[in-house]
């Protein structure tokens, strides 16, 4: 099977429509399992009490907020290097979900911080760089809307996204580089996690749910972008005529 075939919007449009509901279903199931583990199985934290249960959405969405920008940067490199339409459409489709993930991470962080640290917000290195990420998402969305020609917008947004990726390691390492309010990571690839096993399982299942959710929403959004941009193309008329996809 030639996978490159699916780099054409004409081939990708129907397959995205077939895949999206399955990713959405898997995301919902993972979220249910994750919330069950997080609220029923996992014990109360000995320091934070029940307030820590906010981390089951805070940490997965914060991870996704950073990861989505890196995926956008990956598609942007492909879009610039290979001049492929679908790569730029993927980057475009990811941006709103990245912005939502960043917003949720900031919001849940504030409502975790208030009972735990005593403040909703501080100009701490981690929080400030994450807020800048939210502005970068707004920036890339606004930049696209400001340019009428979609192909020029693709290139401008690709450059913006690649340059903006410099903020991701700053967010990630901010807790090590600057000793401000936000604590270091409780989960890392190099050390044993500093939390109860059931808490970790709940968080990882929720992280999986966030991944699957992002894929589902982005597949549907990329279909709307294809409909917008390929309007009037012969293949699109043929696809819409032959079946309801």
């Amino acid at each position: 099977m030639n996978l490159y075939r699916y780099s054409a919007p004409a081939a990708f449009y129907p397959i995205a429509g077939v895949l999206a509901p399955w990713f959405a279903l898997a995301a919902a199931l993972c979220a249910l399992v994750g919330l069950y583990v997080g609220f029923v199985v996992a014990p109360t934290d000995f320091q934070q009490g029940q307030a820590y249960r906010i981390i089951f959405i805070h940490v997965p969405t914060a991870w996704m907020s950073m990861f989505i920008w890196l995926v956008m940067a990956f598609w942007s490199v492909l879009a610039l290097a290979l001049n492929t339409r679908l790569s730029a459409m993927m980057a475009q489709a990811l941006a709103p979900t990245g912005a939502w993930m960043t917003f949720i991470a900031l919001w849940t962080g504030a409502f975790w911080g208030r009972p735990t640290w005593g403040t909703y917000w501080a100009w701490d290195a981690r929080m400030t760089s994450e807020l800048i990420l939210l502005f970068l998402y707004f920036g890339v969305i606004a930049l696209r809307n400001a340019i009428d020609d979609p192909r020029r917008a693709d290139r401008a947004c690709a450059v913006f996204t690649i340059v903006g990726a410099v903020n991701i390691p700053i967010i990630y390492f901010s807790v090590q580089w600057w000793n401000t309010l936000h604590q270091g990571a409780s989960v890392s690839l190099t050390a044993a996690p500093s939390m109860a096993a059931t808490m970790l399982v709940g968080m990882l299942v929720m992280a999986l749910a966030a991944w699957l959710y992002t894929i589902a929403v982005v597949l549907v959004r990329v279909r709307t972008i294809i409909l917008e941009r390929e309007r009037g193309a012969a293949w699109l008329d043929a696809t819409l005529a032959t079946r309801r996809v």
């Binding site: 609220f39 109360t44 009490g49 029940q50 307030a51 249960r53 906010i54 959405i57 805070h58 969405t61 709103p96 979900t97 939502w100 917003f103 949720i104 919001w107 849940t108 409502f111 975790w112 208030r114 009972p115 959710y213 929403v217 549907v220 959004r221 279909r223 709307t224 409909l227 917008e228 309007r231 009037g232 699109l236 008329d237 819409l240 005529a241």
Partner: protein
């Protein structure tokens, strides 16, 4: 009731989860409505002579 109370942290926990649920609902409904409107518009164009 004890579950909703969250050891006196109910306000913080449920505000965090509530706004998250709202954000997801807005995004999912928004993207679906947009796709449906565009698919319908594309279909009508095609039906036109």
């Amino acid at each position: 009731m004890q579950f909703l109370d969250m050891g006196n942290y109910g306000f913080y926990v449920w505000t965090a989860y509530g706004v998250t649920a709202l954000a997801i609902a807005i995004e999912v409904i928004g993207v679906r409505l947009r796709w449906r409107a565009l698919a319908r518009a594309a279909g009508e164009e095609e039906d036109a002579p």
